[in-house]
Structure formats: structure tokens, C-alpha cells
């Protein structure tokens, strides 16, 4: 028996948590591409969330340096308040990988703000140490923050790493949530905003615990492979592979890793269903994956594992393509009773007209 809901405004229960802050750090080793991504999102948009366009949510305050009104200490005061436990509840979003500040004698690799006592910059890692224990949830935005990403590739000088390498795989927030990872380089705009929206619903008591996979990624976003959502997979099935970039066929032989990469971009598109990767001619370089980038380089060579499977599909594919070609020819012809002659040949026999 569904709950009886009375008609009218009284159905809109206020959130049990009236206000929540999003403290967004961009001072990891990143490119701010994930912040720029959120300005691209439309499902929901940042203004939908900030202006309260989604019913039932707490009032949201976003403290992100790329869009903030305040500057300098006016801006950083939210960081200090959060560190003192005076900005509760807040969600900490981290963008960029975390450099290893322990491998050198002095100085800093990445920092945000200046320590008033010493006049020296405050390392990003110090801010994470101060804020993570107090956060309701910690979210990694983009592959640098979730797993290290580009700046953590072999030969890097900073020893940088993802949040879960820094805090530990089993780390839990004070509210019992593991790190929530939304990878992507950059993060797909709506993937991130939708995850944030889910967490806000959860805070408002309108959703159960966010479903995460074993890499702490939202299951509904990263549970399928690129290939499973790619509109070029039909070419793969028919064993019809592109030899050159610019072809509309399957580009697995040109370096696409789609069959083994967890990501929904070909299905969702990049923005408003437009763009993407293999679906529009861009090889999947595995940018959502913990093994990115090293395990996918050199990007423009056929993945070593793909040769066997794409050759195997070739025989079956050619046979299927031949049969489909015959059927396709047939269904490209209209039935024979559509004509302007002085007779009806549809099979209907009227007594008279």
C-alpha cells in the first residue's frame, strides 16, 4: 500500500539537513578540467544545484576557486572553518593528484594559500590531512584525484598519487562512506553532477547508501564497458575494422581500448548526447581507469589483447555480413502492391466501391 500523499505544497518536506557546503580543492596536481567540466553539466547544472532547482535538497554552498566570488583570505576562510569543524556538514571534493611532499628536503610541489605563521605556502596534502577527517564524504573528481592519472605516470618527479593511495583503500568518512571515485580525464560533466546530486539526496534522507563498485565508483555509471555502449560495436561484431582514422567503422585496430574499459561516455555522449570517444572516431585511451595512462600507452597501437579477439570475430563477422547483405537488399524493396495502376493488388477483395 503506497503512502498516502496529500495534495499541495505540504508534500515538499524540507531536508532534515538544511544547509550543506561543498569544499572543492583544485590544488592537487591537475588541470582544473574537472571544475570546468561541472560548468558544462546540464543534468543537473551547477546553477540548478546552487539556486535550489531540485526539490527536497538542502541549501548548497559551493566553495570552488574557479567560480568563487571571494578572493584570497575571504575565500580561504571556508577552508579554515571546515578544518576547525565549524562548517559542518561539508563534502570535500578533491581534484588533481596528491604529490608526495615527503620525498624532498624543503619547499612544496602543490599548495593552497599561505600559512600566516611562517609566510610559506600550505601544501595541498596538509589541507587534505586537515579536512578529510571532518568531511561527511570525500569525493575524487577526475582520474588524477581517484587514481593519480597523467601526472602520476612513470618517470614523474613528484611521486604523486590518487586519494585512495594517500588516505588508504579502506578509508571511511566520519559518516561511514568510502571515498567516492568519479574518474575520467576530465570527468564527464553529468557523471560528476549526478553523483553529487545522489550524495545530496542521501544527505537529505531521500536515497539509500550510494551504490559503489569495488573501485568505489558509482555502479550505475561505471558498471558497463565502453564497448557495450558504443554504437560502433556493430562493426566489431561484423568483423569490419577501420584501417584509417576518420572512418565510421570500429577503431579497435587503431588503438581503441573500449572493450575492456569501464566508462559510459559513448552511451551518454560528452554533452547533451553529443561527442564522446570511439562513437565519434576517438580511440578510447582508458582515461577512467586506475591503470591510466601507462597501461594504455602507446595509445595509437592496437591493444595487445585485441588482436586475438578481433581476428576471431573476423570469420564469423564476414559470414554474418554476407547474410545480412542479402536480407538488407530484400528489406530495401517495397512490397509489390504499391502502384498507380487501375487495379487493387493488396489482397483485399471488396464487394464493390
Amino acid at each position: 500500500m503506497p503512502e498516502q500523499i496529500p495534495y499541495g505544497r505540504s508534500t515538499q518536506r524540507p531536508s532534515p539537513v538544511p544547509e550543506i557546503h561543498i569544499v572543492w580543492m583544485t590544488s592537487g596536481l591537475g588541470c582544473d578540467g574537472d571544475s570546468v567540466s561541472i560548468t558544462a553539466a546540464m543534468q543537473p547544472s551547477i546553477e540548478d544545484v546552487v539556486l535550489g532547482a531540485i526539490p527536497g535538497l538542502p541549501k548548497v554552498y559551493v566553495h570552488n576557486p574557479v567560480i568563487a566570488y571571494e578572493v584570497g583570505d575571504d575565500f580561504l576562510k571556508h577552508w579554515y572553518l571546515a578544518a576547525e569543524g565549524k562548517l559542518d556538514p561539508f563534502v570535500l571534493v578533491v581534484e588533481g593528484s596528491i604529490p608526495n611532499e615527503k620525498i624532498k628536503r624543503e619547499g612544496y610541489w602543490a599548495a593552497l594559500g599561505t600559512d600566516p605563521a611562517t609566510g610559506q605556502p600550505i601544501p595541498t596534502a596538509t589541507w587534505i590531512d586537515r579536512l578529510a577527517p571532518r568531511a561527511l564524504a570525500v569525493v575524487g573528481a577526475g582520474t588524477c584525484a581517484t587514481n593519480g592519472g597523467i601526472h602520476a605516470m612513470a618517470g614523474n618527479p613528484t611521486g604523486c598519487m590518487g586519494l585512495q593511495d594517500y588516505l588508504g583503500q579502506t578509508w571511511k568518512s566520519k559518516a561511514g562512506l568510502p571515498i567516492v571515485n568519479v574518474p575520467g580525464c576530465p570527468v564527464q560533466p553529468d557523471n560528476f553532477m549526478e553523483t553529487l546530486l545522489y550524495l545530496l539526496y542521501q544527505v537529505a534522507g531521500l536515497a539509500p547508501m550510494i551504490p559503489l563498485d569495488d573501485q568505489n565508483r558509482p555502479k550505475w555509471l561505471f558498471g558497463r564497458t565502453v564497448h557495450e555502449g558504443c554504437d560502433r560495436a556493430g562493426y566489431y561484431e561484423q568483423g569490419d575494422f577501420a584501417e584509417e582514422y576518420g572512418s565510421p567503422k570500429c577503431i579497435v585496430k587503431l588503438g581503441c581500448w573500449g572493450p575492456v574499459v569501464n566508462c559510459n561516455v559513448p552511451k551518454r555522449g560528452w554533452m547533451a548526447g553529443i561527442g564522446g570517444c570511439p562513437n565519434v572516431g576517438g580511440i578510447c585511451i582508458g582515461c577512467t581507469m586506475p591503470g591510466f595512462p601507462d597501461k594504455f600507452m602507446p595509445f595509437m597501437d592496437e591493444p595487445p589483447g585485441a588482436r586475438l579477439s578481433s581476428n576471431a570475430v573476423g570469420v564469423y563477422g564476414r559470414a554474418v555480413t554476407a547474410l545480412r547483405s542479402i536480407t538488407n537488399h530484400t528489406v530495401n524493396k517495397e512490397p509489390k502492391w504499391r502502384h498507380p495502376r487501375r487495379e487493387l493488388t493488396t489482397g483485399y477483395s471488396p464487394v464493390s466501391y
Binding site: S27, C31, V36, Y69, V71, L76, G107, N156, Y245, G246
Partner: protein, 597 residues
């Protein structure tokens, strides 16, 4: 060695009462920048400024030994707002090194993608980030007198943009609640969709490769782009007059405002949008295909065009260590002794740079930033010029206008101006805008040029559309040319990132990257005092900026400084950091009798 921008502001007059004020971080930019200043409130000017960047990532280190075909995928990740500019510039350098020339259609698709990037990025930065410095809320907090005046000042072009007074424009710019703020944000999404059509994904493209693009050129692709472009063209017909009204108001409301962010005219532009009929990516013909670009490269000094030859531009780039956290590379390997034309290549040129990071304490009397100091050697005078990009557009317009080469139906460079023609759109008739060389290189003119360049990009895209459609209709649909990676090669790419000059230099040995140095706009703009004591452009532009803000030191916002800095469109993943402490008096030096404490 003499320098062109005298560090005069370093000389602190005895009578001065300087208040140390710092803003760290500077927000509403991309990346991590701190601005540290000393302000003379009695004389209402900034006496000294240091700009610092607090991030080091090490691209030129971890790219060594990697496959050169991966360079554009990797370097795109340098920047999260204009990563595609890096990817594009990297493919230019790869094309040169691999000896490959993309089909014309591939080049037009890249140009359409990059035009969309300018349309998007200038739009969001101008109206959602810089615009906030001019919004009602901000002006009320910093200059209530100016806001009162704005309430009674009619907007000259109200009939075009719909806002009756200047204060109405300012209200429309309020973050999130302002109607124009929200419209601009929405427009920044539509233009990113245009970008995704051509290059797959924003901001790190998926369909861009050395040799061309993987984008499938269909009728639908270009239709989808064109209908969005025409909406943007209509938007421009309101946006350009809106900004003219707003910026002109500041000159009249605050006499002397031209001094804010002003510095000597020292502008660099490395050119944008290759012409596939001329560009074969060979170094030997680079002077010719550089001049054929649809934004003309050039170095402009004191209003004079010094060169528009890319070879000349290339050879005179010098990377000085300055006050940065790096060791010198004088004893490291020299990778390129002469260019393919036989010209000698300097040890301080990006081809020969070796990046050796040395993390250390920040010391404003010594080293204080992760940004080195790029300079351009002016062989006429022997000066190492601290060129700036003015955030991109002002330098592009200035160089293009003076060269007087671009003439594509929608755009004409006249020698003293650039004319932009926009055809009829759904509800508005055709218009012509004309960007004229301004009297100053200052904050307002950098911002104004940005708006005009949005229109320029749209006009250029109209031309690129026509050229792409010609290829498509003629059945020339190849978008990519095959190539092999040579064992030994060098390459360079020149492009305009949204906020200014961009170069990538690569050295290939044994089929791998032996050296790779990208030089984006921010190191040019945000750099510290160089080895000769010449301050970087932000520092230079902020120093001696007059203070028009009505607040005293107690609740000082530093709005004039913010406008000066943001006019450069700072983007620090590429390389800065300014410091002025939230209106708090941190320290006073000299003349204690003024008793600020």
C-alpha cells in the same frame, strides 16, 4: 644587460607608507595563483607586486622516453580549460617532426574546433569570471559612488542588448542570480557542444591525431555545428555592444582608469588557424605558412610590428630561470645546435632546455615561484623583452591589424583595425564590428578585445564552415594522412591558446621523445622577476596601478588589482600566485608616524 621594463617600483621612497597585502589564492581563474603586493594607500597606488604559482607537475620530465605519437594526448592534460589548444599545438609539432600534412578537410575541422574553443572560453571567462569584478554586488562593495552613477547612466546601446542603464548591466552580471551571467553560462555549453562535434570531447579531445582528425565528416556534423554557430552569432550582436557600454563607462566614471593594469605595449601572438592550402608543416616554409594563418603571428613593441615571421619568433625565444625553483641547465645536453635552415639555436631555447626542479622555501627576495621567465630576444636592441599576451585577444588583434593580411570575407585586417562582418540571424540584421588599435595596453582594453575576439572567432568559423562544406560536396572526405615516426627528428608547433601564445618544442631520438617543452601563455604573463631583475607582466602591470577603490586598508578588496590581473586571463595550470591579505594590514614599512597599526 639592460632591460626594457625598469623595475622602478622596487625603489621604495622613504616617505612611503606601504601596506603589505596578499591574495592567495586568486579565484575565478584557472589554477593556482597568489599575488603579493605592497600598497601605498596615501598615494593610492600599488608599489610592488610579486606573482607566485604554487603547483609543479613536471610534464617535460615524465614525457621523456615516451612515444612521440602520445604527445598530444599527454599535453592536453596541461590545461583543463584550453587543453585542446595544447593537443592541437602538439599535433602541429608532431606533423612537422613526422613530415605529415593532414588533408584540407582535417585542417578545417581542427579550425572549427579551435574557433569553438575561443567562443566558449572567452565567453565563460569574460562573463562568468571577469564579469563578476564588474557586477553590481562587487561594485557596491568597492565603489558605491560608481554604482550610484551607473544607476543614472543610460546604456548607449540599450536597444541592442536590452539593459537600460549601466547598473542594469551590472545587475545582470551578478553571479548565478544575474540574467546575463546565466545566459552566458548556457552559451558556454552550446559552444562546447560545437567543440565536441569537431574534436570529440571538451576539454581533452578524443578525435585529434597527428596527421589530422578521426572525426567523421558527414552532412549532419556540419549542420549540427552551423545551427549552433548562428545562435552564437546572434548572441554576439548583443554582447559586443553590452561590453562596450560597460567598459566605456569605467573610463568616464573613473577618470584615469586607463592606468589600471597598464604596461608598455609588449605583445606577442604566435598565430592561429592554419591555412591548409599553404601550410605543409615544414620548418623551411614556416615563415610563409605562418603569415598565411587566419590570425597573423607577430611581436608588437610600442605599437610597432617587429616581426611576423614564425622562424624569427621561434629562434628568439629565451627561457630565463628568473626567481623560480629550478636549477640551471647550462651543463646539460644541447639537443639542437642549428635549426633546419642552419640558424644557430640558443642554449636557453626550449629545444635545449632541461627542466631540473629544486623545491625550496619561498623567498620573495630570492626564488618564489614554479614559473620560469620566458623572454623574447629583440636583436635590434639586445633586450630580453618580457612580452605579454594580454590574455590573448588584444595581442592577436594588434598583430593581425598591423600586418593587414587577413581578408576572408567575414574578416578584414586594415593595417590599423580589424573589421568583422556578421550576417543576418534569426531576429537581428547583419552588423559590422571594428576593433581599432587602442591607445593603451591596459586592463579595460584587454577585456574589450576579448569580447571582440569572440565575434572574430564566430566570423572565422563561418568562413571555415564554407571551406569545409566545399571539400565535403566535392567528395574530398579524407580527414587523416598516414605517417611513420622517424628515429631522429625535431618539431615545433605554434598556436594561440585561448589566453595567448603557445609553443611546443619536441626532439625525437631513437623513435622516442628525448626532449619536450611546451610554453603556454601563463609562463609568459605570470612569470617572476628574471635574471636581469625585469618583473613579469602581471607584476609589472599591477605595480603602479592606481587604486580607485573607495575602501581603505581595513576592508580593502583590491578590486583594481583584481581587474588588472584577471585582464590577462590567468591560467595557472600552465604556470602563477598573487598575494594581498583580505583587507588586513599585515605589515607596515617605513614612516611609522602614519600609524596604520
Amino acid at each position: 644587460m639592460s632591460t626594457t621594463t625598469a623595475p622602478a617600483a622596487e625603489i621604495t621612497r622613504k616617505s612611503r607608507n606601504l601596506v603589505e597585502m596578499n591574495w592567495d589564492p586568486i579565484t575565478r581563474i584557472v589554477g593556482s595563483l597568489g599575488i603579493f603586493t605592497k600598497i601605498d594607500f596615501e598615494n593610492r597606488e600599488v608599489a610592488e607586486c610579486h606573482s607566485t604559482s604554487s603547483i609543479f607537475r613536471g610534464y617535460s620530465i615524465f614525457m621523456k622516453g615516451k612515444d612521440p605519437r602520445d604527445a598530444h594526448f599527454i599535453t592536453s592534460r596541461i590545461c583543463g580549460i584550453c587543453g585542446d589548444n595544447h593537443a592541437t599545438c602538439a599535433t602541429y609539432a608532431q606533423n612537422m617532426a613526422f613530415g605529415v600534412r593532414p588533408p584540407a578537410l582535417g585542417e578545417w575541422i581542427v579550425n572549427l574546433g579551435e574557433a569553438a574553443e575561443y567562443m566558449f572560453d572567452h565567453n565563460i571567462f569574460q562573463d562568468n569570471l571577469v564579469g563578476v569584478d564588474f557586477c553590481e554586488q562587487m561594485v557596491k562593495e568597492t565603489n558605491p559612488g560608481v554604482l550610484a552613477k551607473a544607476e543614472t547612466t543610460q546604456a548607449e546601446h540599450a536597444d541592442l542588448h536590452g539593459f537600460k542603464t549601466i547598473a542594469d548591466i551590472m545587475r545582470a552580471l551578478n553571479p548565478f542570480t544575474g540574467s546575463f551571467y546565466r545566459e552566458a553560462l548556457q552559451m558556454s555549453r552550446m559552444t562546447r557542444e560545437m567543440f565536441c562535434l569537431m574534436e570529440g570531447r571538451h576539454v581533452h579531445p578524443s578525435t585529434l591525431y597527428p596527421g589530422g582528425v578521426g572525426t567523421v565528416p558527414t552532412v549532419q556534423l556540419f549542420t549540427d555545428y552551423l545551427v549552433r554557430l548562428m545562435k552564437y552569432v546572434e548572441f554576439m550582436k548583443k554582447v559586443v555592444p553590452l561590453h562596450d557600454d560597460l567598459f566605456d563607462f569605467f573610463y568616464t566614471a573613473l577618470p584615469g582608469y586607463e592606468k589600471v593594469g597598464q604596461r608598455r605595449i609588449l605583445l606577442g601572438c604566435w598565430g592561429s588557424f592554419n591555412n591548409p592550402a599553404v601550410c605543409d608543416y615544414t620548418y623551411k616554409k614556416m615563415s610563409d605558412w605562418g603569415r598565411a594563418m587566419y590570425v597573423t603571428p607577430g611581436v608588437v613593441v610600442d605599437g610597432e610590428l617587429v616581426t611576423n615571421d614564425l622562424v624569427d619568433i621561434n629562434l628568439n625565444i629565451r627561457i630565463l630561470l628568473g626567481s623560480s625553483y629550478y636549477d640551471d641547465w647550462q651543463n646539460a645536453e644541447t639537443f639542437v645546435r642549428t635549426d633546419p635552415l642552419g640558424n644557430p639555436v640558443d642554449k636557453r631555447h626550449p629545444w635545449n632546455q632541461t627542466t631540473i626542479p629544486r623545491p625550496q622555501k619561498r623567498d620573495f627576495k630570492g626564488n618564489y615561484t614554479w614559473v620560469m621567465s620566458p623572454r623574447w630576444y629583440d636583436k635590434r636592441t639586445g633586450h630580453y623583452l618580457a612580452l605579454d599576451t594580454g590574455g590573448g585577444p588584444i595581442a592577436r588583434f594588434w598583430a593581425t591589424a598591423l600586418a593587414g593580411i587577413v581578408d576572408i570575407g567575414y574578416i578584414k585586417a586594415t593595417g590599423s583595425s580589424v573589421k568583422i562582418y556578421l550576417p543576418k540571424t534569426a531576429t537581428l540584421p547583419e552588423v559590422e564590428f571594428e576593433w581599432k588599435i587602442p591607445k593603451w595596453s591596459n586592463a579595460i582594453e584587454r577585456d574589450r578585445a576579448r569580447t571582440y575576439f569572440q565575434a572574430y572567432s564566430a566570423a572565422a568559423a563561418l568562413y571555415f564552415m564554407e571551406q569545409a562544406m566545399k571539400e565535403l560536396h566535392a567528395g574530398r572526405t579524407a580527414t587523416w594522412t598516414d605517417f611513420t615516426v622517424p628515429d631522429e627528428a625535431i618539431g615545433c608547433g605554434f598556436h594561440e591558446a585561448v589566453r595567448g601564445v603557445l609553443s611546443h618544442h619536441v626532439v625525437i631520438r631513437e623513435g622516442k621523445i628525448a626532449n619536450y617543452h611546451p610554453y603556454p601563455p601563463t609562463p609568459w604573463n605570470a612569470n617572476p622577476r628574471d635574471s636581469y631583475g625585469t618583473p613579469g607582466p602581471y607584476e609589472d602591470a599591477v605595480q603602479n596601478t592606481p587604486i580607485f577603490e573607495e575602501n581603505g586598508p581595513e576592508n580593502f578588496k583590491g578590486i583594481d588589482i583584481m581587474r588588472a590581473v584577471r585582464s590577462f586571463d590567468p591560467c595557472l595550470p600552465c604556470g602563477v600566485h598573487m598575494y594581498l591579505g583580505n583587507g588586513k594590514v599585515l605589515d607596515t614599512v617605513h614612516s611609522p608616524m602614519f600609524g596604520l597599526h
